[in-house]
Amino acid sequence: MILSINIVENNMLNMLLIAAIYLGIFSVAGLFLVLLERKVAAWFQLRLGPNRVGPWGLLQTMADALKLVSKELTGTVKADKFLYNLAPYFVIISSLMALAVFPFTQEFQAFDINIGIFFLIAISSIGVIGILLGGWASNNKFALIGAMRSGVQTISYELSVGLSLVTMVLLTGTLQLSEIIEVQKNGWLIVQGHIPAIIAFMIYMIAGTAETNRAPFDMVEAESELGAGFHTEYSGMKFAYFFLAEFINMFIIAAIAATVFFGGWLEPAWLTPLGIAEVFPAIGVFWFLGKTFALVFLMMWFRWTFPRLRVDQLLTLEWKYLLPLNLLNIVLMALIVWLGLTIQI
């Protein structure tokens, strides 16, 4: 009896400890993603970017976060107070929850659930409820338009994200993220699945960019049209939650792509004979984060290259191009798996 209580207490303690570690790491990582975005944006636009606070401006976003924490939380008089205050938590909690299932290395995974991919897709669609709540409860026309656009956009593009991941699940035969990586020891899935995998990857990156509401699909915020879109009426830390959630979502989309298409924490195949991973398994974190940040950079590249789509162009792109192509692609992938045409290293 005493023993069982001890185990329960230990589990609770473990849970809290892991939660604290994840929260700590990812709130700081989110801040540095913001800094990375600003630096990359500056380099794309022939500027220097933040370079005053700390060496090379490294502490700029830390200072911004401190400023936001110390600011007053304002709101509109006619806002629906309860929903208005609830919205930022929906957004930030859903994006932090998704982080739990990623395998950073073989050992470092908080929650190895057997429906990992399904869990990720489900959790990432909860975030849009927060955006809709925030836009509706703010009682502001710009916020409402932004939130409604977000609803349209996320509901449409979720299909493409889901279907492009289902295409890859045909190859792996499992939804569990650790097993998906296990399958990739015979070659990354983008190599194993060759043509349909590459098509699925392209569709996933387009739809994933739209999922995170980033340019060129940033009609939710659309600074030049809507002020700040759904978070027009938010200030201080509540605004920072939305902002942080956007960047963590970008990390999540890139991390899913790295796990499903590029082998997660597995090192490139030509490095396996050196046996570094066997001596020092924690090197997996390096490979995982390296792949993820390469994909994050790709999304930043999109942002600073392409102009924003109109809302009808956005829906045309999804319903007339991505979705039919995706369905064709699934059939193609099924044929390839059935006929055994995959490339195994």
């Binding site: 990359v40 380099w43 022939l46 999109f302």
Partner: protein, 158 residues
């Protein structure tokens, strides 16, 4: 089959755009256009067309080329230029002639439109390239452009 043609063209143009920005990203160290202003104020040079403030250049004999025709004063849309003039006897020809006493320029009101400089028939006023124009007292923004004791350069009115 323009459907697949459109997809092909779309992807091609997107990749063209990405290659352009990618090249800029890789080359940005060499030609970053940011001026680190307070740090480089010794070496910073403004470009020729920069509109700092209106000045009246004088030569080494303290002579300018302003005839006092007041075209700049008429051209100015908000009255930033006032010319106080007088009829005096010209020492060379002995005739009575219009001469400027003070060419007053209110920098605080000036919108830098440049109409006065376009209007000037003798190029007596020009744009200066200075840019640190803030002062502690706004009366310092009212400037007399012709230097004390200056006179018109001989031959300008011929």
């Amino acid at each position: 089959m323009s459907y697949f043609g459109d997809i092909y063209k779309g992807i091609k143009t997107l990749l063209t755009g990405m290659s352009v920005t990618g090249k800029v990203f890789l080359n940005n160290k060499n030609n970053s256009i940011t001026q680190q202003y307070p740090d480089n104020r010794e070496t910073l040079k403004m470009f020729n067309r920069f509109r700092g403030e209106v000045v009246m250049p004088h030569n080494e004999k303290n002579e300018h080329t302003c005839t006092g025709c007041q075209k700049c004063e008429i051209a100015c849309p908000n009255g930033s230029i006032e010319i106080i003039w007088d009829r005096q006897i010209d020492p060379e020809s002995g005739k009575k002639k219009k001469m400027i006493d003070q060419h007053i320029y209110h920098l605080g009101m000036c919108t830098m439109c440049g109409l006065c400089i376009e209007a000037c028939p003798t190029d007596a006023i020009l744009w200066a390239q200075n840019y640190e124009n803030s002062v502690y007292d706004r009366s310092a923004l009212t400037k007399v452009l012709n230097q004390p004791g200056s006179k018109i350069m001989p031959g300008v009115e011929d």
